[in-house]
Symmetry: C2
DNA sequence: ATAGAAATTGTTAGCGATAACAATTTGGTT
DNA sequence: AACCAAATTGTTATCGCTAACAATTTCTAT
């Protein structure tokens, strides 16, 4: 079992110094074409691969960013991670994942700390944040951190879709169609995202409210509860498409037609939404832009050695489909 | 800008040698309780964090596995990655992601090579594999690699759901209900998974066939094509739930009732499937088990320094719901 | 031809940890 | 009290790379 060749092996193999090999690998301009070719050939021949640990130790950089994600197959976290990966690869950065299975501040702090000594150059927290009171998020990271979501009052750098505004506009759309009683199926209210969307709804509408946990089933149950409550409503704004889909089933079972009896709006614009019956009106979130922006803020902080600051809110995009109708 | 404290700083701070600090950190049994406490206090006070790059350089281990995943929000890859992360964390391993955006052998080879010099202890390829002819997958990795899917003829270690068998059983179920003409909506046939499921269907049934790209829309189009072809069928086996959902819409538009006119079976058992109208019969894949098995094979190879070998096929689980009915 | 500048190469010293071994302290027996 | 073994600590070399500087070669202009 012979160990992998090092720079010295390559250097010896073609009669130069290891530093010259290093120069070739790192694209230094001051290497003659002849030696460069020689070195490259030796690298090829020996199957040399750079040892990143050694490089990291020498430079203090790893070209790796840590990502704190949420361990689930929910659409939001999944799509966000996907977009981020694409952005990271484009910028030549690797991604180390550290997902939390619950979104408490304690769990997220732990994840950040763990990534901190995994020698990443910076950290991106794309996991949803908890709305529950309790301990603050202790951020004693030596590397810059950018969030996708922060609590009111926190001063960390953040890039997100403007959840409140998007929800407000979605609800306002229903109101503008003449709906007076607009119900809401909220997400789990220990998620900040869920509270933002709820608040956006509440800023415009007044109507019955129930909450689920983002799943289809919970949307179904929540909608049944809304119906059973006896409170009138002619429209529902659901905090995500999956729950809206569950609501569709509940409405159908109650012999309520969409959109004739009840207009319905979701949130996310998942691929299926267009194919629901009827096609679902919803809010599209541009995760690609969020990914690019959040990463570029982090990279800027890494390069300048500064602490990332400021917040960027990207508007959601209303997508109008057959599930809404004028109330008149 | 003072650099992070090193072991030497901690050692000096409490008057021991750096090696003793190392022993405390790595839980060596031969440290007196008194010094241990002293060191721990100093670590706390200085906010010392271990430098993983240095540790990796010294030990040759990183406690990190590389994962080659597929860059998408499709259910399969997403769920697989999720399960894997959970398993990795349980075993104390970090995950470095390197996703490919196309599944050619070339792209996957590159991703493996890149992870290879990212100093990972082992590599897991959970990305779907391409069925297209062409260059073989060159596996010149210095660390062990386990796959989630291999081509016939490849001799790499592999752990997967038995796609062929699951598809065969799903189709056989329809046949046992008296269906003679069972159509198939295949996935993209440049995916091995799609060919396996198609082959499983073809092993039992004979009927019209169309193929999509896993999306709802493509299932809708494929089903319309099946209907337009005029060939008779009383059941459809779709290669995933999303396409089955698209097919539902096409059937409804053609005034065909499910399951009275056409029985329908999908594949994946996504959360929504139970709430389709009618609820969709499908095949559930136990990704958690795949994740655990694939990881434990890799870790075994890492520990023993051996090359991983052998294959494990985990059966899919048929889930029977309202979308199928006897043909009689 | 030759000095001086520019380009190219080589040498040495860390980065922060572990491994292997050496040195010291502690404890138990006679 | 003296001695040996066991437990605890310290010392030095090393992992593979880059940074900083030193040395050499090559070119250009007189």
């Amino acid at each position: 079992m012979n160990r992998s060749p090092s720079m010295f092996d390559v250097a010896k193999h073609c009669g130069v110094s290891h530093q010259t090999v290093s120069r070739v690998i790192n694209g230094s301009p001051n290497v003659s074409a002849a030696t460069k070719a020689k070195v490259l050939a030796a690298i090829q021949e020996l199957g040399y691969q750079q040892n990143l640990a050694a490089k990291a130790l020498a430079t203090g950089r790893t070209q790796t960013i840590g990502v704190v994600s949420f361990d689930s197959t929910l659409y939001g976290p999944t799509a966000m991670l996907h977009s981020l990966q694409v952005a990271a690869r484009e910028h030549g950065y690797r991604v180390v994942l550290n997902s939390v299975s619950d979104i408490t501040n304690a769990a997220i702090s732990d994840a950040i700390a763990d990534l901190g000594n995994a020698n990443v150059d910076g950290i991106l927290v794309i996991a949803p944040r908890s709305a529950e009171e309790g301990s603050d998020l202790a951020l004693n990271s030596r590397v810059p951190v950018v969030f996708r979501e922060i609590r009111d009052g926190e001063k960390f750098a953040v890039v997100d879709i403007d959840q409140f505004d998007a929800a407000r506009r979605a609800t306002a759309l229903l109101a503008s169609l003449g709906h007076r009683d607009i119900a809401h199926i909220a997400g789990p209210l220990n998620w900040i995202t869920a509270t933002r969307r709820r608040d956006g709804w509440a800023a415009v509408a007044d109507g019955p409210e129930a909450s689920g946990d983002w799943t289809v089933r919970s949307g179904y149950e929540a909608c049944k509860a809304l119906i059973a409550s006896g409170q009138p409503f002619s429209a529902i704004f659901a905090a995500n498409d999956a729950m809206a889909f569950g609501a569709m089933r509940a409405l159908r079972e109650a012999n309520l037609s969409i959109p004739d009896d009840v207009s319905l709006v979701g949130f996310d614009d998942i691929a299926e939404a267009e194919f629901y019956s009827p096609a679902l009106s919803t809010v599209r979130q541009d995760f690609d832009t969020v990914g690019e922006e959040i990463l570029s803020r982090l990279l800027a902080a890494i390069d300048t050695g500064s602490t990332p600051e400021g917040s960027l809110l990207i508007p959601g995009e209303l997508v109008l489909r057959a599930s809404v109708q004028s109330a008149i």
